[in-house]
Assembly symmetry: C2
Homo-oligomer: 336 residues x 2
DNA sequence: TGGATTTTCTCACTCGTTTGAGATTGACAC
DNA sequence: GTGTCAATCTCAAACGAGTGAGAAAATCCA
């Protein structure tokens, strides 16, 4: 760990003051009227010695940290990689850095926030849906810009998410065009999924699609398990009577579970029952049948959230819209 | 952004010197013989005011940063979430923080490293396989502890990965017990996958399993696409002649593609052809048929890598083993 | 009561960078 | 010879925390 080059090293080498070096390297050469030759020699020495400014010292002096905290609620989230990747690209492009924090089982512990305060973040991005975040108040009251990627019913901070209702609308419209007149819904306890369920209930009639309470199953399990158990339940219960012609799943994971249950029950998809997902996970197109779904606008959500909290936006005083819903994209494949 | 509480605030409130506050809060109270009452009052004041030490100031003074850089090669990696989650938990438990950096398309740009140097990381964890990392030399030569989660054939730093050969061995042993005597292999260009291919070639004979060059397909595409095209190719080419009874895929993603191709070709799995994966992705058990595979020891890999680079280990002078292969776990489901 | 100890706390500097305020130099005019 | 004005550069004090060395006050012993 060789010690790094500081302004002092440059100053000593050239026999000038650190002040001058700081000003020249800080781009203030013109303002203070530094001699052209001096400016050149300082720049050159800096380059030769491989000078890299010490961010800690700068920040200590009050410079913006250009560091964003990223709080992840759910590391199982299949989108996590894509979202973090997008944020990383944005951060990189805007010369910000990203500090990670996370919570166990959607719980916050005071110490979880240590990395955030420790590095003096200038903005906060929360990844994942959630509500009533008491820990957030500390940041918000200090005027720290906060943006969430995901829904938060009772939040006071900015958030961006896919338009669940719009997505369900796309799906129902598509199903209707395919001639489907009876549909069920599969959900798990995830808040965004419950929201989609409510949209489904509300919109089904509008598209002339019949649904029944017994065709709408919300399981306590989550993801594929919920889908499998839920679909199995619907199939069993409506064995003799009329059964839905389509199962709208609140997420791709749930839909995958449903596909499995239908396959086990010998019900062919989409011939006997159509299935739709929501999210567009990476493997949706390789499934058999390939999953018809609604694609999450991951990049756009990341971009929106980043734009709200980045140092540049905050400095410009951009007022942050409290809630943005971005449209999803209908991806028609084989399952419906 | 109300200014944060500093030691100075505490000192002023109690009418003592900042030095005393620093020493007490730094746990040096006993060494310098501070009065019990004073220690108490300082601690209490700190708690009441909500004092959080300023990491930048500490680091500037030469304290270990307790900050690890996490460099991600591939944000598409389906394990990314799990790995980052595990690292985050470890970091949290050991009071470290995590700074993220990443590369576009597995390429490094000098500026990509900015966050790492900026925050003065004390260790580096690379997520993803790779080789010949020129950018790494700078860190290594400064004596920075580096660990990679993933293989790196020509690396000089520590790395941990799943034991590919061991995994293939588990798979072949299992296939043999199921009475399979002829098997093919599906790969894409990922280095770890090619490595598994070589293991397969080497080990097949040992288990009395016949294989042929035409049954071993490495596609230029990656993931599911490679699996789908590869499986299709094998099925077509061996249409009339003897064909393999099993397809060993280098990854779950590839296996999913293969399942799809076989389904399209009307070849039932595992009755007519067995399929195995490698990785154990989240949805493997919800597929139809559920995928037999080898589980990556994600938690263990993260733990190993973290242990190498954490400040505590580095301080203790723990010598870092250059290469560790952790055993995968055979997960027998339906596809083989 | 004076000096030696002990107990308890403070001074002053440092880390690398920034910045308001001032210093030094030379040239030019009168 | 002296004052003025630029041009050019330096002093010194921060930011928040840590630290070697020493100081002030209280206690003890004779």
């Amino acid at each position: 760990m060789s010690p790094s080059i500081t302004q002092k090293d440059i100053a000593q080498r050239l026999g000038v003051s650190v002040t001058l070096v700081s000003r020249v390297l800080g781009g203030k050469a013109a303002q203070i009227g530094a001699a052209r030759a001096t400016v050149e020699s300082i720049r050159q020495a800096a380059a030769e010695l491989g000078y890299v400014p010490n961010a800690n010292a700068r920040i200590l002096k009050g410079a913006p940290t250009r560091t964003l905290g990223v709080v992840v609620y759910d590391f199982e989230d299949p989108f996590l990689g894509a979202i973090i990747g997008a944020l990383q690209r944005l951060a990189h492009a805007h010369e910000h850095s990203l500090v990670l924090a996370g919570f166990e089982q959607r719980r916050v512990q005071a110490q979880s926030l240590m990395p955030l305060t420790k590095h003096g973040i200038s903005g906060l991005i929360i990844v994942g849906a959630g509500s009533r975040d008491a820990w957030l108040d500390g940041f918000l009251s200090r005027g720290l810009p906060v943006a969430r990627i995901g829904e938060s019913p009772d939040a006071t901070h900015a958030r961006v998410a896919v338009d669940g209702e719009g997505g369900v609308r796309l799906l129902l419209n598509h199903l209707r065009r395919r001639g489907i007149r009876r549909a069920g819904f599969l959900s798990d306890p995830h808040p965004a999924h419950l929201d989609r369920l409510r949209s489904f209930e509300r919109l089904a009639a509008e598209f002339g699609i019949e649904t029944r309470p017994s065709w709408q199953v919300t399981r306590a399990e989550s993801g594929t398990e919920a889908g499998q158990l839920g679909a199995r339940q619907i199939v069993r219960e409506s064995g003799t009577r009329a059964h839905p012609e389509a199962l709208v799943a609140a997420s791709d994971a749930i839909a995958i579970g449903a596909l499995r249950a239908l396959s086990d029950a010998g019900i062919s998809v989409p011939a006997k029952m159509a299935v739709t997902g929501f999210d567009d996970l990476p493997f949706g197109d390789a499934l058999s049948p390939a999953l018809t779904t609604v694609r999450q606008p991951v990049q756009e959500m990341a971009r929106t959230a980043f734009a709200w909290v980045s140092t540049d936006a905050a400095a410009a005083g951009t007022s942050s819209a409290p809630r943005v819903l971005l449209p999803g994209e209908l991806v028609i494949r084989e399952s419906a």
